[in-house]
Subunit: 362 residues, 2 copies
Amino acid sequence: MPVGTAGTVKAVPQDVLETLGAEIILGNTYHLYLRPGHELIRRMGGLHKFISWPRAMLTDSGGFQVFSLSALRKVTDEGVRFRSHLDGSSHFFTPEHSMDVQIALGADIAMAFDECTEYPADRNRAQESLRLTMAWARRSLDHFKAHREEVPWYGQPDRVPQVPILEPGNDAANFSSSGRTQSLFGIVQGGTYKDLRRESAERLVEMDFDGYAIGGLSVGEPREMTQEMIAEVLPLLPAGKPRYLMGVGYPDEIEQYARMGVDMMDCVLPTRAARHGLLFTSEGRLNIKARRYAEDETPPDPACCCMVCRRYSRAYLRHLMQCGEALSGTLNTIHNLAYYLGVMQRVRQSLHPEGDPVLANF
Amino acid sequence: MPVGTAGTVKAVPQDVLETLGAEIILGNTYHLYLRPGHELIRRMGGLHKFISWPRAMLTDSGGFQVFSLSALRKVTDEGVRFRSHLDGSSHFFTPEHSMDVQIALGADIAMAFDECTEYPADRNRAQESLRLTMAWARRSLDHFKAHREEVPWYGQPDRVPQVPILEPGNDAANFSSSGRTQSLFGIVQGGTYKDLRRESAERLVEMDFDGYAIGGLSVGEPREMTQEMIAEVLPLLPAGKPRYLMGVGYPDEIEQYARMGVDMMDCVLPTRAARHGLLFTSEGRLNIKARRYAEDETPPDPACCCMVCRRYSRAYLRHLMQCGEALSGTLNTIHNLAYYLGVMQRVRQSLHPEGDPVLANF
C-alpha cells in the first residue's frame, strides 16, 4: 500500500496511482485529524470523496504518529495526551476517539488504537505496553461495533470497495446488519518476545477482528528478529482473514514476507526515498544524485516499463534533482511505486500461477 | 507558451503538457547554461531529447535573466559580465556566446541577445539601450547564420518540429542550405518611446529575421502604454512571419493582444501564480488558500473540463495548499495552463472560424 499521509501520496496525482495499479492506499489518522480535521472530512462525505480516490483505503490508528511525531506525550490507561507537531496545541487520543476519527474519515479498513513498543524494550516494558494495547484493542472493537454504521458513506451503493480485501468465505465481515461498512483490524504487539507475541495474537483472534496486523516491527531490530516474530505470529492468525505487516520494507523484504504468508504491507520507503533521490531498480538501488549519472542516457531501470522509465533518462532525473525541481519528486516516486507494485504483482503471480483466487471471485 | 525555466514546466510531467495541448514551451537559456550547462545538453542531443519533449521549444537569449537575476552586472558594448545567482561564479555573455549556447540547446526558435530596457527609462537611457540591442541583434544574426548548422539535431529527420510555427509562404525560413535547423527571432526594444520602437522594428526587419518579438513591455508601465507600443510596432512587422510579445500576461491581456495580431506570447504567470494558490477561472481569479473554500465541493472552475476540474474540489486543493503538499503545485498549475491554453484556443477559433490556416497546411 502506497502511503498517502495527508490525503495524498506525496507528489503523485490520483489518476497516475490508478494507472500504476495501486489498489489500496493508506491515510494517516494523526495528520488528517490535525489537518483538515476529521469532522470536515466527514462533512465532505469521507476521505474517498474528499481526495477523489474511488479505490480502497486504510487508515492507521494515529497511535504510531502520536508516539513518533508529537511532543510532550503522557500515556495513561485512558489514552494519550500530546501536543501537535504543527502548532503545539494539546490533544487527547483514546481508543474510542481514534475509532470516532477513523469512522469519520471512512476508510475501508480502520485500525485498532495501539501503542507501538519501541526497540529495544526490556521484558517488563514490553509486557506493560502489551497490556495497554490489548485493553485498547477491546475498547476499540467495542466502540467500533457500536458506531461503524456512522461511516459517512454508510448504505451508499457507490461506496463498495472496488478491490477485494478479504479472502473467499469471509466476505460478510465488513457488512453490518443493514449494509456495507468499514472493517476493523487488530494489531499484534509484544516487542521481540515470542511468548508475548503469541499471547497478543491469540487474544486478538478471540476478540474476532475483521483482519489482523503485526505492528511494532521494523523499528530498529535486526532483520532476523523481524522474521522470527513474523514466523511466530502468522500461524496463529486465521488464514481466511487478511494479515497485514505494518511499516515494511525494502523490496526484498516485502517479497520475503509475502511468501511467508503476509497479505498486506505499507511503507513510506518507496515514496520518501524517491524524494531523496533513491531509486529502486532491477539492478539494485540507484542514487540519482550521483555525478556519474549526469550524462547517462539510459532510463532509471532499463528493465522497467513504467511511464518514467519509458520516457526519461537518468541524466534528466539527476538534473531535476540538482535543481530542486518539483517534477523530480513526482517522477522518482512514480518509478519507485511502479517498482514496488511490480514486485508484489510478480509475487502474487508466482504464488497463484493460475490467477489470484481472491481477485477471481470479483 | 508555458514557461519551462530549467527544462521543466514546474511540477507538470511532459505527458500532461501534451494532453493539455501545449504545442510549444519555453526554456530559459540563463538557467540551462548555469545548470546543467549547454555543453552537457549538446552532448545529450539537445534540449528536446534531454527533457523528452518532442514538440516545439523556444529559448530566450538569457539577457532578461542576466539583468533580473544575476548580481554585479557590468554591461559594455562587447557584452555583459555577471555573477551567477546560484554560486556567485563569474560569467561573460556576448551576443555570439548567447547564440552558441542557444544552438547547443537546440530549441526550434532562438532569440537575439538584447538588453531589456527597464521602466521607467528616460529618453537618453532608452536610446542608448536600443543602440546596444540593435548592435547585438546584428551580431546575433551574423553569428547564428554562420553556426546554425551546428545544432545537435541538424539534418536528423526525426527532429522536425511537430507544430507549425510559421505562416504559409514562409516555410523555407528555418531550412538552411542543406536541412532543417533553428529559427532566430529579433527583439524590438525602445522603451516607451514610439519613435524608438518604430526605428527598432524597421531596422530589425531590414536585417531579415525568421520572426520578430516585442520585448521590454509588461515591466511596470501602465497597460494603456503597453497597448500603445504594441499597436505602434505590429503594423511594421511582416504579417507572414511570427510576431511574439514577450512576458505577458493576464488572461484578458493575452486575448486582447492576440486579437491585435500577436501570434505568440509567454508568461510565468499561470504557472507561478498556481504555485502560490492563485487560480484563473471563468468566474475570475480565485485564491484557493482562502478559508471560504475549506468545504467547497465545487471544482476550481465549474465551467472548465480540465483533468483537475473534472476530479478535484476546491476543498481538496485548499487542503493540499494548507499542508504544503507537492500535489498542490501540480494540480493548480495543470488547471491554470488548461485555462490559458483554452483562452488561446477560443481566440484562434474566433479569428479563424473555418479552421486555423497555418495548422490546415500541416
